[in-house]
Subunit: 282 residues, 6 copies
């Protein structure tokens, strides 16, 4: 999967909001008091723990919204695997702008690199299998497009971006519809020809029913490894298989070994730790 | 510290943005296809691991923006310590609205409860000392006011909300000013009478210099416990003392035992795991 | 396909913008001068030519943004086929609000009903065949979700909502990629598992190439009916077939008779005439 | 009337909204997958049917919001009458930006050129008379300033831009006021000295009453040609005369021949067909 | 002139912005700390100096955006002339909401009442003459529609609301056009039939030239009273006359006595003092 | 206090809103009709009465939002004391842009310079004493950050920017809390370590009580000069003292002579007259 950052049209409003929530009404009173307006500075974005980088363009955007005179030179682009001490970019410009923009830029960069790093760790755990790591809609409010991008930077693939770009029939839908068949039939009658349908199944019986009706993908939720293996074998050639539930670095290899196509994990977006990146003197 | 949620004026735009990023242009096509428009439902917000709750009002806001007919009854308000299986609220209303709003509501609630839970764990680690746990500006872009609130829900206290409500002189400012004295003097000349000044010091010499000039608080960054103890004793009665750097559940007790007033930790906002909360049948 | 209007979250900003562009800074100076503030009125939305209705909820939203005291009772809901003189809804409330909101409400309702009516005419032209009428991305700027809804109200189905919810490889992409194969392979490597891929083909050779690589749908652009028939037969069971180019009420039946799955037409959204609907005394 | 496009301040938000509704959350996944980031391209905006151009600056804005590196050279500016095959502008820049911006740019340009072309056809039908073609407030929600501009590009003139820049007393107002006199008197007492007053009259008696009270213009709605002729002769030198209702290319010449000053038609904005313009290889 | 407040659609965004700039990120920390959440209160809006009231609906909006539970009962509506000590409205609701909304509500109410009071003082100074007091475009950024309304509340009339609702040819335009004639002719050729034209003239010669070309109004800027008298006599029956420049309570009577139709003054909007209104215990 | 203008991020939205409220939907129809698009012009911003300048960057922003081709050269920067006739800046660019942007730019500049001038007059009245002049939250809705900046330009200092950056306990809070002690104790328990607490006291008894509990500042509201002198002497070394109420140029010297630290006045922001500045030929 090629790694393209989202369009500035998508993330610039968030970066602007983040800057405004930091500078408030009175601005960076510490920097304005202490640092002369004409002082310039050069700083390096340096990682303090190993990981995978994502978010450099968003960091650049933050600095340049503070001052268009800031320049950033990227040395290790998004998607790079880095080691402690690596310089990933250098920035220079008015010293005030670098200090005022620093926290917002780092908050974006460290968070997104954290998501990329968590994803990469899971990708690495299933290396050698056919399983792809995918994210979920369990993302931070307002940051979905960016976190989905960070997942790609970490080597993962993206599940739905929202409720509207694919059908995912869950247990609640099945219960309210009165069964797998009714749910799938209603969905097929409702959506356009470019919309795929995935259905969550909890048992092999449900799986057979769903496959018989024809769906694009099946979500095998919280199945034991043995059941998963059987489900994958039943679905082979008929639908994409996705395993979810209790996915960790420890459990992922066995799950991947079942031959499942996709392994989805919410925690890579909602519970990953920020990657420690600092802004140091060059 | 009393626990008041932020004004709806502050968080409603974020909740709206989060809903729109989930429903996209075509809306919740799965639910619209499968669930009849007039079906009603009652569901329970139930926790799946122990923790501290924060974000119920934001979750309510999410559901009610989808449909003003949704009602939520809170059983365990924000700030409550909960156990696995506890029901924290029940919601009822149009079944479609519950399903469409579910993910956005949970993304807010689980994230903020995660911050509250992380904070509470650190608060608990320093129990019995005078030390208060405080957050930093290392927050998720767009969510600062909410994460600061979650820190309060977890028993912590809030540091600056932004660059404009207090002066915090860091090493970079000192370097650019040419020393602690110049930095503090410039800050004092610049700010209004209701703005406090805190200065980061790395050595006891810097500490003495800062205290001599008169500051409200000193940030003792990454000091060894022995140095910290000495610093606290020097600063006693002259300035509030804050310890930061490498704060963990394991290191916090010893740091707190130095008598420091505040312990600040970025990870409670930027690296806490979401608390697992689900929306189940009643 | 069930007919659900989009969420208010999606269209309320447009309705608000439309009202503000009509009332400007000084408001409805004619009505404010002439009509007493406490006068109430009842009016009927009546169609002046046969057609299909779409947009009643958006019209209601317009009136209620002017005054929450306006009530609308719908007699012929969206999707209804109506005749000249039919009353589709009655509204009552403050006379000023009815007059001030009238133009914005009608501009929405007449435009969307025009799209629904145009769609229905094309749907009717292919009745008895398997062909579904679908819209395109040739929509009015800012109104996409509403026009897509109007297409559904007219009995049509929706193609992509935007550039991000499905892959549609056009001639330009093929040219820049250096061929059908390269384009399809790059797309497959790039997108997630819930994204469908459609490719535009101009010749039967290109069609065979695309089908061999495996795609979800093929867009048969501007093909002669004979070629179309052959293409449909080649693609049967392998991909959904979509015909486009020079689709009119006159040409549609023959195109539909080829057995094609979908017929797409841009003019149902970009060139349909508004349906004449007025606001009359009851 | 000189032809000045509206200020970018007015239309940039609409263009931005239109782009965002097209690129969604995930962006142009087809182009991002297939076209290399550093590929450049040159394309020509070419008309596929005769007409009048409007909207080139809005199209330029769309491309440049996608990438500031796109350059557009205009060959046939807005207001030009063009023939099939004419190149109206060439654009060059990053190939991705051209493809991603194409649909939004064309949606704006084809729609506005359609309005200009419809206007021009009506202008042409009344050539040689004193009658000017004017638009109404029956415009597409969100596009009023742009459609008013397109009317000017087609040789027409603009009626009110909204409810607030002139008084237009309609039959509903007269009914609620209890007569023409009361309506006009209230309006005169209400508005500032730079606001003109126009009143809709259905009969010659109402016309005389309005003229006696002094109004700036009279709207002669749906009058037979003979009555119109008489009305024009009565109003000459006392008020501007405007004819409206059932205006078509066929009926316009006879109406214009009555000597009326203005002929207004809603369909030039609400029911004109888009002009077919494509983006071709140079 | 009837006194209608602008639509909520127009001023609600300003009130919201004003509240957010007051409550910031952390909210009303004083009130939240001190006042119990369930405490209710009743307060009276009481004037502390004589004047004319404007802005009660905007004040109500401010309180109700803080809490929809606040109720306001108006005793002296906008446009009322009040004396020191008069209660103009009582409000009751949650004590916190009253305290948090107080400053924003009063900032709006005191400012607008100040504009109304200044206007009324000038209206009073020209009582008994035909002269109407009108405002200008010298308004506070973001508050134009509200200040224009306050002028009406004070008994004044409104000039243009913006650059787009009437033509006002000033000395700069005349200079750039190369003379009065060219300027007027270009304007007439440019604008629609419902747009009035006013031209600023500095000399009687310019006045004659403008009148000969036919304009709706003439702005007689900074003329001596004698010249003004002559100008009014020349223009009578041909154009509305407006005097401007150095208008004060002291100079207005003599200027009005010249028979001029309108007297415009910028200071009633840009330099009026706020009316002192407080929120007291009932 | 160093004079730094707020970040463009803070004031650009206001300037944009102000421009849009002036140009409306149809734009500057006078200028567009009369002034050729390619004409250029140079003009000077010249003061017509003595005062202190504030707002040049906001004026520049206004012109450049109309056209990025406008250039402004500042001769007398914000904070300068100027005399009648002084040129404070020259601007050149497209003649249309200068005329279209003029009023918005001047409205900002004249208003903010008015605030700066009023502040400077009060600062001058207390020269030679220790008293600093501070503003209040009685600012124009939407302009707080700019008016606070103008106060600094006039030599004043800033009080709170909003309800959230410091605690200010007023008489209403004390009444609702049931006394000074309860109010102060609740506030101390509620706020973070970088938030200062000021309390309004009306009597010396309240003052003693507040000082005993420890507060950062005391607001001595409407005290007679003798009481004020005593209060200042009691508070010396224990809290910052602020006098407020009935502050005028005439009363300020005696109040300042009491030794009070701060004198706050609402009228410098809510009731200052605009400074007369015009845009003249160079």
């Amino acid at each position: 999967m090629t790694l393209n950052p989202p369009s500035l049209l998508i993330y610039e409003p968030l970066v602007r909001t983040a800057l405004i929530e930091d500078i408030g009404r009175a601005g960076d009173i510490t920097t304005d008091a202490i640092v002369p307006a004409d002082q310039r500075n050069s700083l390096a974005l340096r990682v303090r723990q190993p990981g995978v980088i994502a978010g450099l363009e968003m960091a650049r955007c933050a600095f340049q919204l503070v001052s268009p005179m800031v320049r950033m030179e990227i040395e290790r682009p998004d998607g790079s695997t880095v080691s402690t001490g690596d310089t990933i970019a250098t920035i220079n410009g008015p010293a005030r702008a670098l200090l005022t923009g620093e926290r917002t830029a780092l908050n974006l960069l460290c968070h997104l690199s954290g998501v990329a790093t968590a994803t990469a760790s899971l990708v690495s755990a299933v290396k050698g299998t056919r399983a792809q790591i995918v994210c979920t809609r369990k993302t931070t409010p307002g940051l979905r497009a960016l976190e989905k991008y960070a997942v790609r930077a970490g080597g993962g693939s993206n599940h739905r971006f929202g409720l509207d770009d694919a059908v995912l029939i869950k247990d609640n839908h099945i219960a309210l519809a009165g069964g797998v068949r009714a749910a799938i039939e209603r969905a097929k009658a409702h959506v356009g020809h470019l919309v795929k349908i995935e259905v969550e199944v909890d048992t092999l019986a449900q799986l057979e029913e769903a496959l018989a009706l024809g769906v694009d993908a099946v979500l095998l939720d919280n199945m034991m490894v043995e059941d998963l293996k059987q489900a994958v074998s039943i679905a082979r050639g008929k639908a994409i298989t996705e395993a979810s539930g209790r996915i960790t670095i420890a459990t992922a290899p066995a799950i991947a070994a079942t031959g499942v196509d996709l392994i989805s994990a919410g925690w890579i977006t909602h519970s990953s730790a920020a990657l420690d990146i600092g802004l140091d003197s060059v």
